[in-house]
Amino acid sequence: MELEMKNLSKNFGKNKAVNCVSARLTPGVWGLLGANGAGKTTMMRMMAGILEPSHGQVTFCGKDIRNNSEYRSAFGFLPQEIQFSKDLTVIDYLNYVAALKNVAPALTKERIDHLLSVLTLDGVKNKKIVKLSGGMKRRVGIAQAMLNDPSVLILDEPTTGLDPGERIRFRNFLSASSADKIIILSTHIVSDIEDIADSVMIMKDGELNRIVSKAEYDDLEKLYISIFMEESDR
């Protein structure tokens, strides 16, 4: 299984949000690190197939992800900012997304119960999502992304709004479910990924500055800062 970005670019008018990014992702946890405005979200949207690239393409197992039902069956996505439908309960919403993901009806309850339990949402499953705290909403977002047990999981700033305890639980949950999956975690907080990412892609000004594996760095934060200092030194 392989997810590949080939010369991926996205322009918004004259602004190059993502510029000629190429990378080949294999199973494992991938961190996507970059400052706000570095182009992470734009790149993730293109990888999710919800934003058309200006140039280049994204392929999954060699096939373009556009109109690729195999990819969409195997895909889970948590965008950076979402507000849920204000009238749905947690369980209603997850059932709705399960239908959209074509999770078998017999399996749906089992998957939902499992995710509610792991993400400690059991007690609020019949509550309207809008009435939940920011952290709980984020966990509902994670649950919907995981519903179809995706082979490719893209999480854009997944830990936003989570308290320190929840961040740890989330990291553990992700580590436990990462086998044979391509998981891409976008963040601007180094500590969110340094322990669990097998490799880290560092983005700067719309470009992929470098890809480093866990073995290649001792202190990710130090490396990240040095990359951003390069700019100011120049």
């Binding site: 918004f12 999710a48 919800i50 996505f77 997304v97 993901k101 074509n102």
Partner: protein, 414 residues
């Protein structure tokens, strides 16, 4: 089917849908009750004092005193009515249809023949002067139904927009299909039919309120990003959402209009629905229908319009990311035909091509049926109500297809 059920559940659980559906039930009921409030009659008590009656009480009184006149408006009955009028005129020395005529005689003798006298007056009066019923020969009425057709032609010839020979020929052709003799069944009021159109207009506005925010709300909340990248998040989702919205709007519409008609018909009496359109409206009206058939046509054409407007709202919703923009655009289209009609004072192809062309005040389907309205395409003439139905059907499919296209091509940029 599973996704459709989920989509229906999602719509019905929303507060917006609950409020809209509640209004769609209550408003038509309220309008049906209001329509009954327009009945007024004066009667005399045992001491000879005038007692004003209002609402249902007046309606029952009018119906009771008109019952004798119900039935087919044959030439013989029209002639009898004219003779009765003339003898009452001679006996009391005043116009039985004018003010000051003794109330007890009016209700007993004139009320049952009033619709017949109205038909005679409409047929034989000219633009310049009203027919003199007192001196009219009953033999004139031997050719009453031929004279109605002649009246139709003369009305069209005197109208600048209708005097075209092919239009007159088309109108004649339609009128020749109208069943004669007309049927009189006194009771139903034109106000009540206006209220049917008001109810349809409100239901169309409520459909907009339900459907205009659907996709734009998903865009503005960011929820679209999640739904769009699921397996069924594009083509199937948009088709299912559209189908579920149309289902809810259809059920809401038929419940609303059904309750309105049921209450209205119960109050006026189901027997009154046998009346010909020509006896309630203009004697040379073109629909070959009784009032029940007219109600069915209004309800069905209203539904078709509702579908076209809902599809249009969904299309706007799929295009814009702001809920309020989609709502405002849709509502403008709903009221535009009324504005255009009141500015231009007539029908046009521009008006006909608006999805909401058959709802509104003077431009609605009822007025299009009972008035003489035609449009030309080349040298062909088409009856305006037929155009309204056809354009609504075409636009429904067009907007559904556009919604599908626009939603599928939407890019998540915010």
């Amino acid at each position: 089917m599973r996704l459709y059920a989920q989509e229906l559940r999602r719509i019905l659980k929303s507060t917006r849908a609950k409020v809209v559906i509640l209004l769609a039930v209550l408003l038509p009921i309220l309008m049906a009750l209001l329509a009954n409030e327009f009945n007024d009659a004066n009667t005399l008590d045992s001491d000879g004092n005038i007692v004003p009656l209002h609402g249902r009480e007046a309606l029952l009184f009018i119906k009771e005193n008109s019952a004798e006149g119900n039935g087919e408006a044959t030439v013989e009955r029209l002639q009898d009515a004219l003779l009765t009028y003339q003898s009452l005129y001679d006996e009391y020395g005043m116009d039985p249809l004018g003010s000051g005529f003794p109330l007890d005689v009016l209700w007993r003798e004139v009320q049952p023949i009033r619709p017949l006298l109205r038909m005679i007056t409409l047929t034989y009066s000219t633009q310049e002067e009203s027919v003199d019923l007192r001196n009219m020969s009953v033999d004139t009425l031997d050719s009453f139904y031929e004279d109605v057709e002649a009246k139709l032609i003369s009305v069209m010839q005197s109208d600048q927009e209708l005097r075209c020979p092919v239009m007159i020929s088309k109108a004649q052709h339609l009128f020749q299909k109208v069943s004669t003799p007309f049927y009189v069944s006194h009771g139903y009021s034109r106000d009540a039919f206006d209220y049917i159109e008001f109810a349809i207009l409100f239901l169309v506005i409520l459909s907009v309120a339900l459907s205009a925010p659907v996709f734009s709300e998903r865009y503005s909340t960011g929820e679209d990003s999640i739904l769009r990248c699921t397996l069924y998040g594009r083509g199937k989702l948009v088709r299912t959402t559209v189908l579920a919205e149309l289902t809810v709007v259809t059920v809401m519409y038929f419940v609303g209009i059904g309750l309105h008609l049921l209450i209205s018909d119960m109050m006026f009496g189901f027997d009154t629905l046998k009346e010909s359109v020509q006896t309630l409206y203009t004697v040379y009206s073109l629909p070959n229908m009784n009032l029940l058939e007219l109600q069915i046509v209004l309800a069905l054409s209203g539904w078709l319009c509702c579908m076209a407007v809902t599809a249009m709202s969904l299309c706007f919703s799929a295009r814009v990311t702001e809920t309020s923009t989609s709502m405002v655009l849709s509502l403008i289209i709903v009221i535009l035909p009324t504005l255009l009609y009141s500015i231009s004072g007539g029908v046009s192809w521009l008006l006909a091509f608006l999805p909401s062309a058959s709802v509104g005040l003077s431009n609605n389907m009822l007025m299009s049926l009972v008035d003489l309205r035609f449009l030309m395409i080349g040298d062909k003439v088409i009856w305006y109500p037929v155009i309204l139905v056809c354009t609504a059907a075409v636009e429904f499919f067009l907007f559904v297809a556009l919604t599908h296209l626009v939603y599928s091509k939407h890019q998540v940029t915010k």
